[in-house]
Amino acid sequence: MNDTAFQLENVNFSYLGKYPALRNIDITIKQGQKISVIGANGSGKSTLLQMLDGLIFPDTGAIKAFGRELKESDFNDESFCRDFRKRVGLVFQNPDVQLFCPTVKEDIIFGPLQLGCGKREIEKRLEVILSILEIKDLLDRPPHQLSVGEKRKVAIASVLMIEPDVLILDEPTAGLDPLTTRHIMDLLIQANESGKTIITSTHDLHIVEEISDIVYVFGQQKCIVKAGEPDIILKDTALLEAHNLLHIHTHRHKDKIHIHPHLHLEHHLEE
């Protein structure tokens, strides 16, 4: 049995044919793996995630999903499109993009309705997701009235409702308070433990270790500069510094000024 979820071979992509967004990308993602993609702003992370979700396609190179090469024309075939969308879900970076319906409820059930899910099944899934994410009170509210954290939870709920095998998240914890971040992290870890593949793009290094089996570091050249296990990547401070993922921190201790690289990970490493 082929246990590969995605395989990208020498993928290149550019916007409008002249602004490169991905260069020579080679990635293999096994089903059930936790993958994270880290890199500074504009390094091509979001483009990669949209490609994995079959929204954009390589200019050159090939992308395979579940052993089959993905081509734009394949999505004209209704049964293939439906099957792929059921198996892969993407949470967009900007929840305002993802929440386009007049109410939270309509947004959450949009996916399963389009994918032919029955009314009873939708109600059953809705009940479970609302209690997991604790968003029952938001159901009849318009998305524009929600806080950033609530919007992000609803955006995640709208994708979890599809029950995809692969969950792709574009900066799921950006701008969130620590408690909501923790909540979302627990949810992702739980989803992975139940067999789902989790692919996350982030530049929040706090969360990388927990949500990654493999970390891919993207550079400003829109290519992968290093890939490896999280503890190896996170110890490579020179690499992280070179790609704007860590900064020099100055602070004062008992009248002495300390200057050191700031990774926010010391408390994890001590454990």
């Binding site: 949009f110 309705l113 994918l115 318009p142």
Partner: protein
């Protein structure tokens, strides 16, 4: 920057949009009309409005207007607010349109009152006055029903009601998205304006002001274009294929049936009296 005309206009227009369109303050109250099924409410109100157009007896029109005010009171609507909302602008505008009709030049008939301005004699006729009163009462009554429906129903429910009139789902969805994103752009304009204000600090030459406004319009256009592409991708990502599927989860209650019955009795009674 001084509190100038443009600033006041922008702030005024944005706060009006937020309060009148997005607040849904009255729709959230627990009143009579708010508790009705939006489908039943819309259909009965539409029937009332159609009848208002055909009624020639001004007393029946007054009764319908009184019913409208009574429903507003039952629905916990502030009557002063409601009267302001229904009387300002459109009825006043129609009053200006109807005004010439009261004079004998346009509507000949039995003279009620005559006066002279600059040597010209004006005669107000009974037929002219009753015609104009009928016209204004029709406008006010139908407008009151429309406003009462819109302020006691949440916008998303009104959009869903459109489905029962077999309006294409794509149109309903586009309208809903338009409503959703206008709010986002209202916020963008507000924040952009505050950002300019915080950085400019002093009064600005009007030419520079014009150029900032022009750039903001261009920026907003570009932003909406980008958003359009992104939202479409988000729809595709969740299985959208050009024809949206929706869930019909309206439920009729005993109260809805009682209101429907009551409204139909009034409608039939008026029908036979006209």
């Amino acid at each position: 920057m001084k509190n100038n005309f443009i600033e006041r206009s922008i702030i005024g227009a944005l706060s009006f949009l937020k309060e009148s369109i997005f607040a849904e303050e009255y729709a959230a109250r627990k009143g009579f009309l708010q508790s009705l099924d939006p489908r039943v409410k819309t259909v009965t109100f539409l029937l009332f409005i159609v009848q208002v157009l055909f009624i020639k007896n001004i007393l029946i029109l007054f009764c319908l207007y009184a019913l409208c005010l009574f429903l507003a009171w039952l629905s916990k609507i502030d009557l002063i607010f409601f009267l302001k909302r229904t009387w300002i602008f459109i009825p006043l505008f129609s009053l200006f349109i109807a005004l010439p009709a009261i004079f004998s030049i346009f509507t000949p008939g039995e003279a009620l009152f005559a006066f002279k301005i600059a040597g010209l004699k004006f005669i107000i006729t009974r037929q002219g006055l009753s015609g104009a009163t009928l016209f204004i009462t029709r406008v006010v009554t139908s407008l009151s029903f429309v406003i009462l429906l819109s302020i006691t129903t949440k916008h998303f429910e009104l959009l869903r009601v459109l489905r029962i009139f077999k309006i294409p789902q794509v149109f309903v969805m586009t309208t809903g998205m338009c409503y959703r994103y206008v709010y986002l752009f209202v916020e963008v304009i507000e924040n952009t304006y505050l950002a300019i204000k915080s950085r400019v600090g002093t009064s600005l030459h009007y030419k520079k002001g014009q150029s900032i406004v022009a750039w903001n319009i261009a920026f907003l256009w570009q932003r909406s274009y980008q958003l359009n592409e992104e939202v479409y991708k988000a729809m595709l990502a969740r299985g959208y294929r050009g024809e949206p599927v929706v869930l019909n989860d309206f439920r009729m209650k005993a109260r809805d049936l009682a209101w429907l019955f009551f409204a139909l009795i009034i409608i039939v009674a008026i029908f036979y009296s006209i």
